[in-house]
């Protein structure tokens, strides 16, 4: 295992219901790095994350550096909107005390939501009352509680308008710089990937290409990933 690597994946394959989702995927992620995973719909991006987290069975090896705290921001909750769960209680899911949370933990919650630009008042609101942008910020603040070493973000800006999107990525970058957090990110937005990721993994069942955004996000690379027709032509000057 590479000295610097926080994650080493070798020959990872995932088969669900006799359908091959991932085939022979290998890559490494260095500590403090920002890796973006891109690929068309159904390419296995979310399955890759779920395998890395041990949530689905896989073949091959996934090795995290020992003692690494991993946090995950999924695309959606499974809880209904009418459930009377407050944003604070959502945070308390990570607290040592749910009924009588320690003051230090509640202070920590206040700090993290402030970092994500959220007001304390939202902690009293129910999860279903939050806007899309507030929910995404809360999810990331939640993920940052207890200082994880690695953050896995599955389309963290899905359903958020463009202004919010930039804010969220700036915040993620700031956290990365200040805390040395390693970030793995699934995104559909190539302009975001271009600006925020240092390394890109192009996935379509198997790894199509890997490298810096400058090397990978060119017409030839994208054609290989998304197919020749109708691929997402990237122009760094155009904001998608």
């Amino acid at each position: 295992m590479n000295e610097n690597a926080i994650l080493t994946v070798e020959a990872l394959s995932v088969t669900l219901d006799a359908v091959q989702i991932l085939r022979n995927v290998s890559f490494t992620v260095k500590q403090g790095e920002a890796l973006a995973v891109i690929g068309p719909n159904g390419a296995g991006k979310t399955s890759l994350f779920r395998a890395l987290l041990g949530l689905i069975p896989y073949e091959g090896s996934v090795r995290w550096r020992a003692g690494t705290r991993i946090e995950y921001v999924p695309q959606r909750f499974s809880v209904e909107r009418s459930a009377p769960i407050t944003a604070l209680e959502f945070c308390l899911l990570k607290s040592p005390g749910f009924w009588r949370p320690p003051a230090a933990f509640v202070d920590h919650v206040h700090d993290e939501i402030a970092l994500m630009g959220l007001d304390r008042g939202i902690l009293k609101k129910n999860l279903g009352e939050l806007s899309g942008g507030q929910t995404q910020r809360l999810l990331i603040a939640w993920a940052l509680l207890q200082q994880p070493g690695v953050l896995l973000l599955d389309e963290p800006t899905a359903g958020v308008d463009a202004g919010f999107e930039d804010t969220i990525y700036s915040l993620i970058r700031r956290i990365q710089a200040e805390r040395g957090t390693t970030v793995l990110l699934i995104s559909h937005d190539l302009s975001v990937v271009y600006r925020y990721a240092k390394d890109v993994l192009c996935l379509n069942t198997s790894v199509i290409c890997q490298g810096s955004p400058q090397d990978v996000l060119n017409p030839a690379g994208l054609a290989a990933l998304y197919g020749d027709t109708g691929y997402y032509r990237h122009d760094p000057n155009v904001k998608h």
Binding site: F77, V79, P84
Partner: protein, 257 residues
């Protein structure tokens, strides 16, 4: 009230609280109907116990535990929607139960009665009901974590065993109340307090507390109604609870306006 009614009163309070404590988690897992149907499985258990001259309570415990494990397994392994399977299977077990249960015991098994119990048996029921309520509060965070996001919960080391724990607590609670409320309606007792509390609660912690208190209140209120008007306790408790639900709906709507 004679002694049987005293016993019933205490069962109503403590089993009611246990039902109210587990109810919110069952409701948020969208298992209200599954939970309701689960109590029907107790009927063949009662029938077999009567056939072999054992206390029906043991038949109920065995059948409900098996049913809880079955639901757990179906959730994890079946591609078919669990509610469809549960609906079929549990209704079938109700039919089987009705066919083999002696005629004289049918009404009591279906709708409950003021039970005649030995003191030691009563104490066991009361102690177990208390333990089940306490477990709901102790495991509240873990149960809620699994409900909000099974994936996130697993990442945090809370695996499916907590889903099983929730179902087993639920099955035990149903088993405790069946003598009083009956197999047809006991499932409803676990759902009604939670349904009422959901209309008025502003937070999850408030939700569980209010639901637990309402569980006790609805059971006792229904018992009082049954006693006063010489009705069966099961239907009285359920109707009393449904009345409160309608009231809470009106309060909830007024607040929303």
């Amino acid at each position: 009230m004679h002694s049987s009614h005293h016993a019933s009163f205490w069962i109503a309070v403590l089993v009611g609280i246990a039902s109210g404590s587990i109810g919110p988690f069952i409701l948020l897992r969208r298992m209200a109907l599954v939970g309701d149907a689960l109590s029907h499985v107790a009927l063949p258990g009662i029938a077999l116990a009567l056939l072999y001259r054992v206390d029906p309570f043991y038949g109920v415990i065995v059948f409900l535990t098996v049913a809880a494990v079955l639901i757990f397994w179906l959730e994890g392994n079946s591609r078919l929607p669990p509610d469809a399977i549960v609906g079929l299977l549990f209704t079938a077990s109700l039919a089987v139960g009705i066919l083999i249960i002696p005629n004289g015991d049918i009404i009591e098994s279906l709708f409950g009665a003021f039970p005649v119990l030995s003191l030691s048996f009563l104490l066991v029921i009361l102690c177990v009901a208390t333990v089940l309520s306490v477990l709901c509060f102790v495991f509240a965070r873990r149960f809620l974590f699994r409900i909000v996001s099974p994936d996130l919960a697993s990442v945090h080391g809370l695996g499916r065993k907590y889903d099983l724990a929730l179902l087993l607590i639920f099955a035990m609670t149903v088993a405790l109340g069946i003598k009083l409320v009956g197999t047809l309606l006991m499932g409803a007792l676990t759902i009604i307090p939670a349904a009422v509390a959901k209309n008025v609660a502003r937070s999850m912690r408030g939700y569980v507390v209010v639901s637990a208190l309402l569980g006790g209140a609805i059971s006792v209120g229904g018992m009082w109604m049954a006693d006063a008007f010489r009705l069966l306790p099961g239907p009285s408790i359920v109707l009393f609870g449904v009345g409160l639900f309608v009231l809470s709906l009106i309060i909830g709507l007024k607040r929303a306006v």
